[in-house]
Symmetry: C2
Subunit: 319 residues, 2 copies
Protein backbone atom coordinates (compact mmCIF):
# COMPACT_ATOMS: atom_id res chain seq x y z
CA UNK A 1 0.00 0.00 0.00
CA UNK A 2 1.33 3.40 -0.90
CA UNK A 3 2.06 5.66 2.04
CA UNK A 4 2.51 9.40 2.24
CA UNK A 5 5.82 9.95 4.01
CA UNK A 6 6.84 13.17 5.71
CA UNK A 7 10.61 13.06 5.27
CA UNK A 8 12.68 15.61 7.21
CA UNK A 9 16.22 16.18 6.00
CA UNK A 10 15.12 15.00 2.55
CA UNK A 11 18.10 16.68 0.83
CA UNK A 12 20.65 15.09 3.15
CA UNK A 13 22.85 12.06 2.70
CA UNK A 14 20.47 9.43 4.04
CA UNK A 15 17.29 11.43 3.38
CA UNK A 16 17.84 11.85 -0.33
CA UNK A 17 18.71 8.18 -0.80
CA UNK A 18 15.57 7.27 1.11
CA UNK A 19 13.51 9.67 -1.01
CA UNK A 20 14.66 7.97 -4.21
CA UNK A 21 13.91 4.55 -2.77
CA UNK A 22 10.42 5.46 -1.55
CA UNK A 23 9.50 7.10 -4.85
CA UNK A 24 10.67 4.02 -6.77
CA UNK A 25 8.30 1.97 -4.60
CA UNK A 26 5.32 4.14 -5.45
CA UNK A 27 5.04 6.13 -2.21
CA UNK A 28 4.26 9.80 -1.90
CA UNK A 29 6.68 12.09 -0.11
CA UNK A 30 6.52 15.51 1.42
CA UNK A 31 10.20 16.30 1.81
CA UNK A 32 11.34 18.97 4.26
CA UNK A 33 14.75 20.58 4.25
CA UNK A 34 16.26 23.98 5.08
CA UNK A 35 19.32 23.25 2.88
CA UNK A 36 21.69 24.20 5.70
CA UNK A 37 23.67 21.06 4.88
CA UNK A 38 21.31 19.32 2.44
CA UNK A 39 22.13 19.50 -1.26
CA UNK A 40 19.62 20.41 -3.96
CA UNK A 41 21.56 18.24 -6.41
CA UNK A 42 20.78 15.17 -4.29
CA UNK A 43 17.10 15.81 -5.05
CA UNK A 44 17.54 16.18 -8.81
CA UNK A 45 15.73 12.95 -9.53
CA UNK A 46 13.12 13.31 -6.76
CA UNK A 47 12.15 16.82 -7.80
CA UNK A 48 11.18 15.50 -11.24
CA UNK A 49 8.84 12.94 -9.70
CA UNK A 50 5.14 13.87 -9.45
CA UNK A 51 4.78 12.13 -6.07
CA UNK A 52 7.44 14.31 -4.48
CA UNK A 53 6.67 17.67 -2.92
CA UNK A 54 9.45 19.80 -1.43
CA UNK A 55 8.76 22.11 1.51
CA UNK A 56 11.72 24.36 2.16
CA UNK A 57 11.54 25.29 5.81
CA UNK A 58 13.39 25.13 9.08
CA UNK A 59 12.39 22.68 11.80
CA UNK A 60 12.77 25.49 14.34
CA UNK A 61 9.63 27.00 12.81
CA UNK A 62 6.75 24.96 14.23
CA UNK A 63 4.11 27.18 12.63
CA UNK A 64 5.53 26.39 9.19
CA UNK A 65 5.78 22.68 9.96
CA UNK A 66 2.17 22.19 10.94
CA UNK A 67 0.67 22.76 7.45
CA UNK A 68 3.62 20.96 5.84
CA UNK A 69 2.74 17.74 7.69
CA UNK A 70 -0.89 17.75 6.52
CA UNK A 71 -1.93 14.59 4.71
CA UNK A 72 1.05 12.47 5.73
CA UNK A 73 0.64 9.14 7.47
CA UNK A 74 4.18 8.42 8.66
CA UNK A 75 7.15 10.61 9.51
CA UNK A 76 10.78 9.71 8.97
CA UNK A 77 12.72 12.32 10.91
CA UNK A 78 16.28 12.35 9.57
CA UNK A 79 17.06 16.08 9.71
CA UNK A 80 19.82 16.77 12.22
CA UNK A 81 23.05 18.44 12.96
CA UNK A 82 25.12 15.34 12.25
CA UNK A 83 28.39 16.95 13.20
CA UNK A 84 29.53 15.07 16.30
CA UNK A 85 33.06 16.40 16.17
CA UNK A 86 32.62 20.15 16.56
CA UNK A 87 29.86 20.15 19.18
CA UNK A 88 31.86 22.09 21.75
CA UNK A 89 32.39 24.95 19.28
CA UNK A 90 28.64 25.68 19.08
CA UNK A 91 26.73 23.81 21.78
CA UNK A 92 23.43 25.51 20.95
CA UNK A 93 23.37 23.88 17.50
CA UNK A 94 22.82 20.35 18.81
CA UNK A 95 20.16 21.54 21.24
CA UNK A 96 18.23 23.38 18.54
CA UNK A 97 18.68 21.14 15.53
CA UNK A 98 18.43 17.79 17.28
CA UNK A 99 16.39 18.24 20.47
CA UNK A 100 14.09 21.22 19.86
CA UNK A 101 13.64 20.25 16.19
CA UNK A 102 12.48 16.79 17.29
CA UNK A 103 10.03 18.37 19.72
CA UNK A 104 8.65 20.51 16.87
CA UNK A 105 8.30 17.47 14.62
CA UNK A 106 6.34 15.68 17.37
CA UNK A 107 4.10 18.70 17.89
CA UNK A 108 3.50 19.05 14.15
CA UNK A 109 2.52 15.37 14.12
CA UNK A 110 0.16 15.83 17.04
CA UNK A 111 -1.45 18.85 15.36
CA UNK A 112 -2.11 16.71 12.27
CA UNK A 113 -3.09 13.46 13.97
CA UNK A 114 0.04 11.64 12.76
CA UNK A 115 1.29 8.98 15.15
CA UNK A 116 4.09 6.98 13.50
CA UNK A 117 7.68 8.21 13.49
CA UNK A 118 11.05 6.77 12.53
CA UNK A 119 14.04 8.62 13.99
CA UNK A 120 17.72 8.62 13.14
CA UNK A 121 19.43 8.40 16.50
CA UNK A 122 23.02 7.33 16.98
CA UNK A 123 25.27 4.81 18.68
CA UNK A 124 26.85 7.88 20.30
CA UNK A 125 24.06 7.77 22.90
CA UNK A 126 25.95 4.84 24.48
CA UNK A 127 28.88 7.12 25.34
CA UNK A 128 31.83 4.83 26.04
CA UNK A 129 29.93 1.65 26.78
CA UNK A 130 31.59 -0.99 28.93
CA UNK A 131 29.63 -3.63 26.98
CA UNK A 132 30.86 -4.28 23.41
CA UNK A 133 29.22 -5.18 21.10
CA UNK A 134 26.72 -2.82 22.68
CA UNK A 135 23.08 -3.98 22.83
CA UNK A 136 20.06 -1.66 22.98
CA UNK A 137 19.59 -2.44 26.69
CA UNK A 138 23.21 -1.74 27.63
CA UNK A 139 23.75 -0.21 31.09
CA UNK A 140 22.35 3.33 31.45
CA UNK A 141 25.02 5.36 29.66
CA UNK A 142 26.87 8.55 30.57
CA UNK A 143 26.87 10.99 27.65
CA UNK A 144 30.24 12.07 26.27
CA UNK A 145 29.21 14.40 23.43
CA UNK A 146 26.70 17.17 22.91
CA UNK A 147 25.61 15.35 19.75
CA UNK A 148 24.88 12.13 21.64
CA UNK A 149 23.15 14.06 24.43
CA UNK A 150 20.94 15.90 21.95
CA UNK A 151 19.93 12.68 20.20
CA UNK A 152 19.26 10.97 23.54
CA UNK A 153 16.97 13.89 24.36
CA UNK A 154 15.20 13.36 21.02
CA UNK A 155 14.75 9.65 21.78
CA UNK A 156 13.32 10.48 25.20
CA UNK A 157 10.82 12.94 23.76
CA UNK A 158 9.68 10.44 21.15
CA UNK A 159 9.24 7.66 23.71
CA UNK A 160 7.30 10.01 26.01
CA UNK A 161 4.98 10.94 23.12
CA UNK A 162 4.41 7.23 22.49
CA UNK A 163 3.31 6.78 26.11
CA UNK A 164 1.46 10.07 26.43
CA UNK A 165 -0.16 10.49 23.02
CA UNK A 166 -0.40 6.98 21.58
CA UNK A 167 2.42 7.38 19.07
CA UNK A 168 4.45 4.47 17.70
CA UNK A 169 8.15 4.89 17.03
CA UNK A 170 11.20 3.29 15.47
CA UNK A 171 14.36 4.73 16.97
CA UNK A 172 17.50 3.78 15.01
CA UNK A 173 20.87 3.97 16.70
CA UNK A 174 23.24 4.19 13.76
CA UNK A 175 26.93 3.56 13.50
CA UNK A 176 28.51 5.90 10.94
CA UNK A 177 26.87 5.59 7.54
CA UNK A 178 28.89 5.47 4.29
CA UNK A 179 28.12 5.45 0.58
CA UNK A 180 26.75 7.58 -2.22
CA UNK A 181 26.01 11.22 -1.23
CA UNK A 182 28.23 11.00 1.83
CA UNK A 183 29.33 14.55 2.65
CA UNK A 184 31.23 14.42 5.94
CA UNK A 185 33.31 12.10 8.08
CA UNK A 186 36.70 10.48 7.85
CA UNK A 187 36.53 9.26 4.21
CA UNK A 188 35.50 12.75 3.14
CA UNK A 189 38.28 14.40 5.17
CA UNK A 190 40.95 11.98 3.96
CA UNK A 191 39.85 12.23 0.33
CA UNK A 192 40.03 16.01 0.53
CA UNK A 193 43.49 15.92 2.09
CA UNK A 194 44.86 13.39 -0.39
CA UNK A 195 43.51 15.33 -3.33
CA UNK A 196 45.39 18.41 -2.11
CA UNK A 197 48.56 16.44 -1.33
CA UNK A 198 48.73 12.68 -2.05
CA UNK A 199 52.07 12.36 -0.29
CA UNK A 200 50.85 12.76 3.27
CA UNK A 201 47.79 12.36 5.47
CA UNK A 202 47.08 13.90 8.88
CA UNK A 203 45.18 11.49 11.12
CA UNK A 204 43.33 12.46 14.29
CA UNK A 205 44.17 10.23 17.25
CA UNK A 206 46.55 7.26 16.95
CA UNK A 207 44.82 5.48 14.05
CA UNK A 208 43.87 2.59 16.31
CA UNK A 209 40.31 3.80 16.88
CA UNK A 210 37.95 0.92 16.15
CA UNK A 211 34.73 1.91 14.41
CA UNK A 212 31.85 0.27 12.66
CA UNK A 213 30.27 1.58 9.44
CA UNK A 214 27.16 0.76 7.47
CA UNK A 215 26.38 1.38 3.83
CA UNK A 216 23.51 3.79 3.23
CA UNK A 217 21.48 1.29 1.18
CA UNK A 218 21.74 -1.25 4.01
CA UNK A 219 20.64 1.49 6.39
CA UNK A 220 17.59 2.22 4.26
CA UNK A 221 16.76 -1.48 3.99
CA UNK A 222 16.79 -1.65 7.78
CA UNK A 223 14.53 1.37 8.22
CA UNK A 224 11.96 -0.10 5.87
CA UNK A 225 12.08 -3.61 7.36
CA UNK A 226 11.80 -2.24 10.89
CA UNK A 227 8.82 -0.03 10.13
CA UNK A 228 7.09 -3.03 8.53
CA UNK A 229 8.03 -5.72 11.03
CA UNK A 230 8.72 -4.19 14.45
CA UNK A 231 5.43 -3.78 16.25
CA UNK A 232 6.23 -2.52 19.75
CA UNK A 233 5.08 0.91 20.86
CA UNK A 234 8.71 2.06 21.07
CA UNK A 235 11.13 0.07 18.88
CA UNK A 236 14.77 0.87 19.62
CA UNK A 237 17.10 -0.73 17.10
CA UNK A 238 20.84 -0.67 16.61
CA UNK A 239 22.01 -0.49 12.99
CA UNK A 240 25.51 -1.54 11.98
CA UNK A 241 27.54 -4.30 10.40
CA UNK A 242 28.59 -7.31 12.43
CA UNK A 243 32.11 -6.09 13.04
CA UNK A 244 34.40 -3.08 12.98
CA UNK A 245 37.64 -1.91 11.47
CA UNK A 246 40.63 -0.05 12.76
CA UNK A 247 40.97 3.46 11.36
CA UNK A 248 44.34 2.40 9.90
CA UNK A 249 42.65 -0.35 7.86
CA UNK A 250 40.21 2.15 6.43
CA UNK A 251 43.11 4.45 5.54
CA UNK A 252 44.70 1.54 3.68
CA UNK A 253 41.51 0.92 1.66
CA UNK A 254 41.16 4.60 0.79
CA UNK A 255 44.81 4.89 -0.28
CA UNK A 256 44.53 1.71 -2.32
CA UNK A 257 41.38 2.89 -4.09
CA UNK A 258 43.08 6.18 -4.93
CA UNK A 259 46.41 4.55 -5.85
CA UNK A 260 48.39 6.70 -3.42
CA UNK A 261 50.85 5.90 -0.63
CA UNK A 262 50.77 8.84 1.80
CA UNK A 263 53.03 9.25 4.79
CA UNK A 264 50.79 9.14 7.88
CA UNK A 265 51.06 11.86 10.51
CA UNK A 266 49.21 10.97 13.69
CA UNK A 267 47.95 13.65 16.08
CA UNK A 268 48.23 11.01 18.81
CA UNK A 269 45.99 9.96 21.69
CA UNK A 270 43.26 7.33 21.73
CA UNK A 271 40.55 9.81 20.70
CA UNK A 272 40.25 11.85 17.53
CA UNK A 273 38.48 14.71 19.31
CA UNK A 274 36.76 15.59 22.58
CA UNK A 275 33.99 13.07 23.11
CA UNK A 276 35.24 10.73 20.41
CA UNK A 277 34.54 7.12 21.31
CA UNK A 278 37.63 5.02 20.50
CA UNK A 279 35.65 1.79 20.09
CA UNK A 280 32.19 1.65 18.51
CA UNK A 281 30.64 -1.72 17.76
CA UNK A 282 26.90 -2.26 18.16
CA UNK A 283 25.06 -5.50 18.77
CA UNK A 284 22.53 -5.70 15.92
CA UNK A 285 20.87 -9.00 16.77
CA UNK A 286 17.54 -7.30 17.44
CA UNK A 287 17.45 -5.79 13.94
CA UNK A 288 18.65 -9.04 12.34
CA UNK A 289 15.86 -10.94 14.07
CA UNK A 290 13.42 -8.80 12.05
CA UNK A 291 14.81 -10.31 8.85
CA UNK A 292 17.48 -7.76 7.94
CA UNK A 293 21.14 -8.20 7.22
CA UNK A 294 23.59 -5.77 5.61
CA UNK A 295 24.76 -6.59 2.10
CA UNK A 296 27.98 -4.55 2.17
CA UNK A 297 31.13 -5.05 4.22
CA UNK A 298 32.85 -2.03 5.76
CA UNK A 299 35.56 -2.29 3.09
CA UNK A 300 32.97 -2.20 0.29
CA UNK A 301 31.29 0.78 1.92
CA UNK A 302 34.56 2.70 2.14
CA UNK A 303 35.47 1.94 -1.48
CA UNK A 304 32.01 2.91 -2.78
CA UNK A 305 32.30 6.16 -0.86
CA UNK A 306 35.68 6.92 -2.44
CA UNK A 307 34.16 6.17 -5.87
CA UNK A 308 31.27 8.54 -5.15
CA UNK A 309 33.63 11.32 -4.05
CA UNK A 310 35.83 10.79 -7.12
CA UNK A 311 32.89 11.26 -9.45
CA UNK A 312 31.25 14.02 -7.39
CA UNK A 313 34.08 16.28 -6.37
CA UNK A 314 31.61 19.17 -6.25
CA UNK A 315 30.54 18.00 -2.78
CA UNK A 316 34.02 18.98 -1.53
CA UNK A 317 33.11 22.59 -2.26
CA UNK A 318 29.91 22.49 -0.25
CA UNK A 319 31.56 22.59 3.17
Amino acid sequence: MADHYILTGCAGFIGSNLADRLLSQGHRITGIDNFSTGQRRFLESALKHPAFRLVECDLQDLQALIPAFAGGNIVLHLAANADVRFGTEHPRRDLEQNTIATYNVLEAMRANGLRRIGFSSTGSVYGESAVIPTPEDAPFPVQTSLYGASKLAGEGLIAAYCEGFGFQSWIFRFVSILGERYTHGHVFDFYKQLKADPSRLSVLGDGKQRKSYLHVQDCIDAIQIAVSNATEKVNVLNLGVDGYCELNESIGWIAEALGVRPRLQYAGGARGWIGDNPFIFLDTRKMRALGWSPKHTIREGVIKTVEFLRTNEWVMETR
Copy 2:
Protein backbone atom coordinates in the same frame (compact mmCIF):
# COMPACT_ATOMS: atom_id res chain seq x y z
CA MET B 1 35.62 26.59 53.76
CA ALA B 2 32.78 28.88 52.80
CA ASP B 3 31.55 28.55 49.25
CA HIS B 4 29.46 30.86 47.12
CA TYR B 5 26.56 28.80 45.85
CA ILE B 6 24.44 29.67 42.85
CA LEU B 7 21.13 28.12 43.81
CA THR B 8 18.43 27.93 41.13
CA GLY B 9 14.89 27.36 42.33
CA CYS B 10 15.89 28.89 45.66
CA ALA B 11 12.27 29.66 46.59
CA GLY B 12 11.10 26.12 45.92
CA PHE B 13 10.48 23.23 48.27
CA ILE B 14 13.97 21.72 48.24
CA GLY B 15 15.76 24.93 47.22
CA SER B 16 14.55 27.01 50.15
CA ASN B 17 15.37 24.27 52.65
CA LEU B 18 18.82 24.03 51.11
CA ALA B 19 19.24 27.81 51.28
CA ASP B 20 18.53 27.84 55.02
CA ARG B 21 20.95 24.98 55.57
CA LEU B 22 23.78 26.55 53.56
CA LEU B 23 23.36 29.92 55.27
CA SER B 24 23.47 28.26 58.69
CA GLN B 25 26.79 26.71 57.67
CA GLY B 26 28.31 30.08 56.76
CA HIS B 27 28.10 29.83 52.96
CA ARG B 28 27.15 32.62 50.58
CA ILE B 29 24.24 32.14 48.22
CA THR B 30 23.05 33.80 45.07
CA GLY B 31 19.52 32.46 44.85
CA ILE B 32 17.65 32.51 41.55
CA ASP B 33 13.92 32.08 41.17
CA ASN B 34 11.15 33.34 38.89
CA PHE B 35 8.48 32.62 41.54
CA SER B 36 6.38 30.69 39.05
CA THR B 37 5.96 28.00 41.70
CA GLY B 38 8.48 29.20 44.31
CA GLN B 39 7.13 30.95 47.40
CA ARG B 40 8.52 34.19 48.76
CA ARG B 41 7.46 33.11 52.27
CA PHE B 42 9.87 30.15 52.07
CA LEU B 43 12.69 32.69 51.82
CA GLU B 44 11.60 34.80 54.80
CA SER B 45 14.57 33.73 56.87
CA ALA B 46 17.10 33.67 54.00
CA LEU B 47 16.18 37.16 52.83
CA LYS B 48 17.14 38.54 56.25
CA HIS B 49 20.59 36.96 56.03
CA PRO B 50 23.45 39.17 54.79
CA ALA B 51 25.04 36.27 52.86
CA PHE B 52 21.93 35.71 50.74
CA ARG B 53 21.30 37.58 47.51
CA LEU B 54 18.11 37.03 45.53
CA VAL B 55 18.08 37.40 41.75
CA GLU B 56 14.55 37.27 40.42
CA CYS B 57 14.81 36.02 36.86
CA ASP B 58 13.72 33.30 34.51
CA LEU B 59 16.12 30.56 33.44
CA GLN B 60 14.87 31.00 29.87
CA ASP B 61 16.71 34.32 29.85
CA LEU B 62 20.38 33.43 29.37
CA GLN B 63 21.46 37.06 29.11
CA ALA B 64 20.07 37.73 32.59
CA LEU B 65 21.65 34.57 34.01
CA ILE B 66 25.19 35.34 32.95
CA PRO B 67 25.73 38.33 35.29
CA ALA B 68 23.74 36.59 38.04
CA PHE B 69 26.25 33.70 38.11
CA ALA B 70 29.27 36.00 38.55
CA GLY B 71 31.37 35.24 41.60
CA GLY B 72 29.87 31.83 42.35
CA ASN B 73 31.98 28.72 42.67
CA ILE B 74 29.39 25.95 42.59
CA VAL B 75 25.90 25.67 41.13
CA LEU B 76 23.04 23.67 42.59
CA HIS B 77 20.43 23.57 39.86
CA LEU B 78 17.09 22.71 41.46
CA ALA B 79 14.73 24.88 39.43
CA ALA B 80 12.37 22.75 37.39
CA ASN B 81 8.88 22.06 36.33
CA ALA B 82 8.40 19.31 38.90
CA ASP B 83 4.93 18.43 37.72
CA VAL B 84 5.23 14.91 36.34
CA ARG B 85 1.51 14.32 36.23
CA PHE B 86 0.23 16.94 33.80
CA GLY B 87 3.03 16.79 31.23
CA THR B 88 0.76 15.86 28.35
CA GLU B 89 -1.37 18.97 28.94
CA HIS B 90 1.54 21.30 28.15
CA PRO B 91 4.46 19.39 26.64
CA ARG B 92 6.48 22.54 25.94
CA ARG B 93 6.77 23.29 29.65
CA ASP B 94 9.06 20.35 30.42
CA LEU B 95 11.20 21.08 27.36
CA GLU B 96 11.65 24.72 28.33
CA GLN B 97 11.83 24.58 32.10
CA ASN B 98 13.85 21.39 32.44
CA THR B 99 15.89 20.90 29.26
CA ILE B 100 16.47 24.38 27.80
CA ALA B 101 16.77 25.90 31.30
CA THR B 102 19.53 23.40 32.11
CA TYR B 103 21.31 24.31 28.88
CA ASN B 104 21.12 27.99 29.87
CA VAL B 105 22.49 27.22 33.34
CA LEU B 106 25.43 25.37 31.75
CA GLU B 107 26.10 28.24 29.36
CA ALA B 108 25.93 30.80 32.17
CA MET B 109 28.46 28.65 34.06
CA ARG B 110 30.75 28.49 31.05
CA ALA B 111 30.53 32.26 30.56
CA ASN B 112 31.65 32.72 34.18
CA GLY B 113 34.24 29.96 34.39
CA LEU B 114 32.14 27.90 36.83
CA ARG B 115 32.59 24.15 36.50
CA ARG B 116 30.82 22.34 39.35
CA ILE B 117 27.11 21.57 39.22
CA GLY B 118 24.67 19.55 41.28
CA PHE B 119 21.42 18.69 39.50
CA SER B 120 18.05 17.48 40.75
CA SER B 121 17.15 14.71 38.32
CA THR B 122 14.56 12.07 39.02
CA GLY B 123 13.99 8.34 39.31
CA SER B 124 11.43 8.90 36.55
CA VAL B 125 14.31 8.68 34.04
CA TYR B 126 14.23 4.90 34.59
CA GLY B 127 10.74 4.70 33.06
CA GLU B 128 9.29 1.37 34.15
CA SER B 129 12.50 -0.42 34.99
CA ALA B 130 12.57 -4.20 34.90
CA VAL B 131 15.21 -4.12 37.66
CA ILE B 132 13.91 -3.20 41.13
CA PRO B 133 15.43 -1.83 43.31
CA THR B 134 16.78 0.12 40.35
CA PRO B 135 20.52 0.89 40.32
CA GLU B 136 22.13 3.83 38.50
CA ASP B 137 23.43 1.49 35.78
CA ALA B 138 20.08 -0.18 35.15
CA PRO B 139 19.40 -1.23 31.55
CA PHE B 140 19.06 1.72 29.13
CA PRO B 141 15.53 2.89 29.89
CA VAL B 142 12.59 3.80 27.68
CA GLN B 143 11.06 7.10 28.77
CA THR B 144 7.41 7.07 29.82
CA SER B 145 6.83 10.73 30.75
CA LEU B 146 7.69 14.11 29.32
CA TYR B 147 9.02 15.04 32.75
CA GLY B 148 11.42 12.08 32.84
CA ALA B 149 12.46 12.72 29.22
CA SER B 150 13.20 16.37 29.95
CA LYS B 151 15.29 15.50 33.00
CA LEU B 152 17.14 12.79 31.07
CA ALA B 153 17.94 15.45 28.47
CA GLY B 154 19.25 17.70 31.26
CA GLU B 155 21.44 14.87 32.59
CA GLY B 156 22.82 14.27 29.11
CA LEU B 157 23.68 17.92 28.60
CA ILE B 158 25.44 18.10 31.94
CA ALA B 159 27.48 14.95 31.28
CA ALA B 160 28.46 16.25 27.81
CA TYR B 161 29.62 19.53 29.35
CA CYS B 162 31.72 17.52 31.81
CA GLU B 163 33.43 15.75 28.91
CA GLY B 164 33.60 18.74 26.59
CA PHE B 165 34.31 21.60 28.94
CA GLY B 166 35.94 20.02 32.00
CA PHE B 167 32.91 20.39 34.27
CA GLN B 168 32.27 18.14 37.29
CA SER B 169 28.72 17.11 38.16
CA TRP B 170 26.55 15.43 40.75
CA ILE B 171 23.33 14.18 39.20
CA PHE B 172 20.73 13.13 41.78
CA ARG B 173 17.93 10.82 40.77
CA PHE B 174 15.32 11.47 43.43
CA VAL B 175 12.35 9.50 44.51
CA SER B 176 9.51 11.83 45.59
CA ILE B 177 10.60 14.20 48.35
CA LEU B 178 8.42 14.95 51.40
CA GLY B 179 8.58 17.29 54.37
CA GLU B 180 8.40 20.95 55.33
CA ARG B 181 7.51 23.31 52.45
CA TYR B 182 6.11 20.47 50.35
CA THR B 183 3.64 22.02 47.91
CA HIS B 184 2.50 19.29 45.53
CA GLY B 185 2.06 15.55 45.33
CA HIS B 186 -0.20 12.98 46.89
CA VAL B 187 -0.01 14.16 50.52
CA PHE B 188 -0.86 17.69 49.37
CA ASP B 189 -3.76 16.47 47.21
CA PHE B 190 -5.16 14.19 49.91
CA TYR B 191 -4.84 16.83 52.63
CA LYS B 192 -6.71 19.31 50.45
CA GLN B 193 -9.48 16.82 49.70
CA LEU B 194 -9.86 15.75 53.32
CA LYS B 195 -9.98 19.31 54.50
CA ALA B 196 -12.87 19.98 52.10
CA ASP B 197 -14.65 16.73 52.99
CA PRO B 198 -13.16 14.38 55.63
CA SER B 199 -15.70 11.67 54.85
CA ARG B 200 -14.28 10.59 51.49
CA LEU B 201 -11.11 10.51 49.44
CA SER B 202 -10.69 10.10 45.67
CA VAL B 203 -7.61 8.04 44.85
CA LEU B 204 -5.97 7.86 41.42
CA GLY B 205 -5.27 4.30 40.30
CA ASP B 206 -6.04 1.29 42.51
CA GLY B 207 -4.13 2.41 45.62
CA LYS B 208 -1.66 -0.44 45.17
CA GLN B 209 1.00 1.73 43.52
CA ARG B 210 4.28 1.17 45.35
CA LYS B 211 6.39 4.29 45.78
CA SER B 212 9.42 5.40 47.70
CA TYR B 213 9.74 8.77 49.43
CA LEU B 214 12.56 10.69 51.07
CA HIS B 215 12.42 13.46 53.65
CA VAL B 216 13.74 16.80 52.41
CA GLN B 217 16.37 17.08 55.16
CA ASP B 218 17.72 13.63 54.25
CA CYS B 219 17.78 14.77 50.61
CA ILE B 220 19.81 17.84 51.54
CA ASP B 221 22.18 15.75 53.65
CA ALA B 222 22.80 13.56 50.61
CA ILE B 223 23.45 16.49 48.29
CA GLN B 224 26.04 17.90 50.65
CA ILE B 225 27.75 14.56 51.33
CA ALA B 226 27.89 13.74 47.63
CA VAL B 227 29.40 17.07 46.62
CA SER B 228 32.05 16.61 49.33
CA ASN B 229 32.82 12.93 48.87
CA ALA B 230 31.99 11.85 45.29
CA THR B 231 34.96 12.66 43.10
CA GLU B 232 34.18 11.29 39.65
CA LYS B 233 33.78 13.62 36.71
CA VAL B 234 30.09 12.67 36.43
CA ASN B 235 28.58 11.34 39.66
CA VAL B 236 25.13 9.85 39.14
CA LEU B 237 23.46 9.01 42.45
CA ASN B 238 20.06 7.62 43.36
CA LEU B 239 18.42 9.15 46.43
CA GLY B 240 15.69 7.37 48.35
CA VAL B 241 14.94 5.36 51.43
CA ASP B 242 15.70 1.66 51.54
CA GLY B 243 12.13 0.58 50.89
CA TYR B 244 8.74 1.68 49.64
CA CYS B 245 5.15 1.86 50.73
CA GLU B 246 1.87 1.09 49.08
CA LEU B 247 -0.22 4.18 48.40
CA ASN B 248 -2.91 2.69 50.66
CA GLU B 249 -0.46 2.62 53.59
CA SER B 250 0.32 6.27 53.07
CA ILE B 251 -3.39 7.06 52.99
CA GLY B 252 -3.73 5.26 56.33
CA TRP B 253 -0.96 7.37 57.91
CA ILE B 254 -2.45 10.61 56.58
CA ALA B 255 -5.92 9.73 57.81
CA GLU B 256 -4.54 8.72 61.21
CA ALA B 257 -2.55 11.96 61.55
CA LEU B 258 -5.68 13.93 60.72
CA GLY B 259 -7.97 11.77 62.84
CA VAL B 260 -10.35 11.05 59.95
CA ARG B 261 -11.77 7.86 58.45
CA PRO B 262 -12.65 8.66 54.84
CA ARG B 263 -14.39 6.31 52.45
CA LEU B 264 -11.91 5.58 49.63
CA GLN B 265 -13.01 5.94 46.01
CA TYR B 266 -10.52 4.44 43.58
CA ALA B 267 -10.31 5.61 39.98
CA GLY B 268 -8.93 2.15 39.18
CA GLY B 269 -6.07 0.89 37.04
CA ALA B 270 -2.48 0.25 38.04
CA ARG B 271 -1.39 3.80 37.15
CA GLY B 272 -2.52 7.10 38.63
CA TRP B 273 -2.01 8.96 35.35
CA ILE B 274 -0.42 8.60 31.91
CA GLY B 275 3.23 7.79 32.43
CA ASP B 276 2.81 7.04 36.13
CA ASN B 277 5.19 4.30 37.23
CA PRO B 278 3.30 1.86 39.48
CA PHE B 279 6.47 0.71 41.28
CA ILE B 280 9.33 3.04 42.16
CA PHE B 281 12.12 1.78 44.39
CA LEU B 282 15.70 2.89 43.81
CA ASP B 283 18.88 1.10 44.80
CA THR B 284 20.77 3.67 46.90
CA ARG B 285 23.88 1.63 47.76
CA LYS B 286 26.11 4.00 45.78
CA MET B 287 24.99 6.99 47.85
CA ARG B 288 25.18 5.03 51.11
CA ALA B 289 28.76 4.03 50.31
CA LEU B 290 29.63 7.73 50.48
CA GLY B 291 28.63 7.78 54.14
CA TRP B 292 24.99 8.84 53.90
CA SER B 293 21.89 7.26 55.28
CA PRO B 294 18.40 8.72 55.63
CA LYS B 295 17.23 9.51 59.15
CA HIS B 296 13.48 9.43 58.46
CA THR B 297 11.24 6.54 57.50
CA ILE B 298 8.57 7.04 54.84
CA ARG B 299 5.93 7.08 57.58
CA GLU B 300 7.77 9.84 59.46
CA GLY B 301 8.11 11.82 56.25
CA VAL B 302 4.39 11.56 55.51
CA ILE B 303 3.42 12.56 59.05
CA LYS B 304 5.83 15.53 59.11
CA THR B 305 4.37 16.64 55.79
CA VAL B 306 0.83 16.50 57.17
CA GLU B 307 2.02 18.52 60.20
CA PHE B 308 3.57 21.11 57.90
CA LEU B 309 0.39 21.41 55.84
CA ARG B 310 -1.74 21.68 58.97
CA THR B 311 0.30 24.64 60.24
CA ASN B 312 0.75 26.22 56.80
CA GLU B 313 -2.61 25.97 55.14
CA TRP B 314 -1.75 29.07 53.11
CA VAL B 315 0.21 26.85 50.72
CA MET B 316 -3.11 25.28 49.66
CA GLU B 317 -4.08 28.64 48.19
CA THR B 318 -0.93 28.93 46.07
CA ARG B 319 -1.94 26.38 43.45
